[in-house]
């Protein structure tokens, strides 16, 4: 019941952005919210090629931060640096400091880091296993010994997928539709109870109705999760995020409250991009 009323609030807020402006101005600016990620002087290199230049930003806890910018501007690279997914990329390295709750992510065990910082990818990538085993995967590899089924159900509920799949838990995940698969991937990420959820264009392969579901879901997850979402869809950034960072050619151009960035951008390049003059 509580979640349903919550959902109504969410859609109300989405329909009326001005409500959110007052909300965010009363809850305080970026500086007042607790900081989850503090990124300072981040430079990223693929071999000799530099992809990110001197990034400084703070990702506030329990908020949605959107990363926008034209293709190839380094949004995904930046996102994948936050859970060190780029470690596996040959010749990739970064300089500078990324603190997660004050801890240097470089000094953290990568498994522990990824348990705390979950990730959802552009295309749904369920494992060739049953729905149940997909959600339980993260728990099992982290050596979780306990009541798996309860956590699987809880995660599927949080991803708003439980009602649709509860009778088919042992069917293959490939039997689900694209939107369901993406929510399954979110449930899979949520199962290990991450503090942060990184979303790399999670809706680019989905239709508008499913996209709305996922945005709704993000709104509900804010209670327990910090989210960073890469998106090419500016309406989505405007609808679903609290803060927006605009990137161009590997540099951070502007990072502020979403309502400000989309109404009164301070940098002419931001304005040009959001009004559709390039990118």
């Amino acid at each position: 019941m509580a979640s349903i009323s919550h959902g109504n609030n969410a859609s109300a807020a989405r329909l009326a952005p001005q409500v959110r402006i007052t909300e965010s101005s009363t809850t305080g600016s970026q500086r007042e919210a607790p900081v989850r990620f503090q990124i300072s002087d981040l430079n990223f290199f693929y071999g000799p090629k530099q992809a990110l230049f001197e990034l400084h930003l703070k990702i506030p806890a329990n908020r949605v931060t959107a990363l926008i910018g034209p293709s190839g501007c380094g949004k995904s690279t930046f996102l994948r640096t936050l859970n060190r997914m780029n470690d596996a990329v040959r010749n990739a390295r970064f300089e500078g400091q990324i603190l997660l709750d004050g801890q240097d992510i470089r000094k953290m065990d990568v498994v522990g880091l990824r348990r705390r910082v979950g990730m959802v990818f552009q295309r749904p990538n369920p494992f060739p296993k049953s729905i149940y085993d997909n959600v339980a995967y993260g728990l099992r590899i982290n050596g979780y010994k306990g009541r798996l089924s309860e956590l699987v159900e809880h995660s599927l509920r949080r991803a708003a997928l439980w009602e649709e799949v509860k009778d088919y838990l042992h069917k293959s995940a490939f039997a689900l539709s694209g939107g369901q698969q993406q929510r399954l991937c979110i449930a899979r990420a949520l199962a290990v109870d991450p503090e942060v959820l990184l979303l790399d264009e999670p809706c680019s392969a989905l239709d508008p109705v499913t996209t709305a579901k996922i945005e709704e879901l993000m709104f509900q997850l804010k209670d327990s999760c910090t989210m960073v979402i890469v998106t090419h869809n500016m309406q989505q950034a405007a609808r679903a995020s609290d803060f927006t960072a605009f990137m161009l050619d590997g540099k951070l151009i502007e990072h502020t409250e979403t309502s400000k960035l989309f109404t009164t951008p301070t940098d002419p390049r931001t304005e040009a991009y959001i009004t559709g003059r390039f990118g």
């Binding site: 990730m119 060739p128 982290n142 990420a189």
Partner: protein, 283 residues
């Protein structure tokens, strides 16, 4: 002029289409010709005795090739035990871990090994296993066939692992899975259908090898106990019986050929059906 050109283009199109179609038909008919010929010639000698009896002494008609059928199965079991694990793991290495230079060397060597004439591999197994103990054995035949299984398995395993999308690997790694864990629990299961098919094709391929068995497993007119005695096998029986001067042996050679082909086809078809159904269930 342009009209003539149009007619010419259409004709050329028709000619090329028929040529490719004919070639495709030729491919299919070769198998069916062989199969038909085998059934026609071998079917007559195929009876229950063939599967249950030992070969009769020279001059007597009848008898069977039970020992050769069992021998072939034992040789294949050895080849599978020796070749498949090495092939699988090396394929995993090439697809998932390999650096540039070493992988190139391994891949190139594997292709070369695949091209080594089977009789040369037979000589190698002969030198390695037969000469030290000074007698032919099932084990030696298994080693020869096992070596031949390796390169095919390596390359097919590598191909099918490479076909698994990177996003699947990233999905597992993003949940904190180590590389090996990712491979074992996500990548290998995703590619398992293809990998198993590749392995069976490798075994099917060596099931019909004759040359490397001639001086490793040799042949045997009786049952072969254990692994240290020479053993009969279907391909070698085909060879021996086909060049012998007795009509009855010729018929039996045809029958042996038919059984060999049927075994390979059945194994192939069976796995495809089983995997196909498995995929439907898991997809």
């Amino acid at each position: 002029m342009s009209r003539l050109r149009l007619v010419w283009r259409k004709t050329l199109n028709a000619i090329m289409l028929s040529l490719t179609g004919l070639a495709a038909l030729a491919v299919v008919s070769v198998l069916f010709l062989i199969l038909g010929y085998l059934i026609w010639n071998g079917g007559k000698s195929l009876n229950w005795d063939f599967f249950t009896k030992l070969p009769k002494p020279v001059g007597e008609t009848g008898g069977g090739m039970a020992n050769a059928i069992l021998g072939s199965l034992k040789l294949l079991l050895l080849a599978a035990l020796m070749g498949l694990p090495i092939g699988l793991l090396a394929g995993v290495y090439l697809a998932e871990f390999g650096g540039k230079t070493f992988s190139f060397v391994v891949r190139y060597t594997t292709d070369l090994l695949n091209g080594v004439p089977s009789i040369v591999i037979g000589i190698f197994a002969y030198t390695l296993v037969v000469l030290p103990v000074k007698h032919f054995s099932t084990l030696a035949g298994g080693v020869a066939l096992g070596i031949m299984v390796i390169p095919i398995t390596v390359r097919s395993t590598e191909e099918f692992l490479r076909a698994v999308p990177v996003t699947l690997r990233e999905g597992a790694m993003a949940l904190g899975a180590s590389k090996w864990r990712t491979i074992a629990t996500v990548v290998l299961p995703a590619a398992s259908g293809g990998i198993i098919t590749g392995m069976l094709l490798a075994l099917a391929r060596v099931a019909g090898e004759t040359a490397p068995l001639l001086f490793t497993a040799f042949s045997n007119r009786y049952w072969s106990d254990g692994w240290e005695q020479p053993t009969a096998s279907l391909p070698v029986m085909v060879y021996t019986y086909a060049i012998a001067p007795y009509d009855d042996w010729h018929r039996q050679a045809w029958a042996a050929g038919l059984v060999l082909l049927a075994l390979v086809l059945l194994a192939n078809l069976g796995t495809r059906l089983a995997l196909g159904r498995g995929t439907v269930r898991s997809v």
